[in-house]
Symmetry: C2
DNA sequence: GCTTTACTTGGCCATTCCGCCAAGTATCGT
DNA sequence: ACGATACTTGGCGGAATGGCCAAGTAAAGC
């Protein structure tokens, strides 16, 4: 990155990057309904438990989710209800891949 | 990706991924002020022209920007004004990296 | 105590991403 | 036609991602 990227933009990128993966976005979407333990989320995305755990770590470090251990389970929940608006906004950003995307 | 990811989520990921890079987000932010030619954007992000061009292709394919050739220049602009709301929403998603993100 | 359950962490491999350089294309000026 | 300008495209290395397996940790039950 040759030019200095403003801190505000850096923070935005960190958050956006955390959501830029199918499994992680799926998790974030699911957590809108309420907290879930890791095993539920593993069933949701269907990967190895270790993989799911790493995805959750990424979401946590981005400040998107919170964790809480209760008994043997670890429950994750959204730290910010704003995600709904965020996603609606994404949906309006581009209608299904327009022809105009072609360079020629 | 073991489990089938819903199409809606897939489309969302494609768009989010396109914005999940400092240079590309910087471009998107800059285009909020109005259209810019590629050389202006190269000055903004300070990379090789070919690199900038590839970033713009990615934004275009995600449907986030539009291009128009006029004379020797190619001008890019946002295809959707919604980006402002999108970014404000990102900003509220997580306050500056809280301590709670630590696993241990 | 030992075992089981529910994760997290470390390591490794395969794929993807991102940068530059070099070469190609298109338009303008002469 | 030729050269210059403004890109785009191809290729290639190096870095970052993402997946699994294996090993480690922590709480609950026996």
């Amino acid at each position: 990155m040759p030019l200095p990227v403003p801190p505000k933009t850096k923070r935005r990128v960190a958050i956006i990057k955390a959501l830029a993966h199918p499994s992680r976005l799926l998790v974030a979407e699911a957590l809108q309904q309420g907290e879930q333990c890791v095993c539920d989320l593993r069933d949701l995305i269907g990967s190895d438990l270790s993989t799911v755990s790493k995805h959750l770590t990424i979401l946590r470090q981005a400040g998107i989710v919170d964790m809480e251990k209760r008994g043997l389970n670890v429950f994750y929940r959204l730290r910010c209800p704003c995600l709904i608006g965020f996603l609606e906004c994404v949906d309006t950003l581009a209608p299904p891949a327009p022809k105009g995307a072609r360079a020629k």
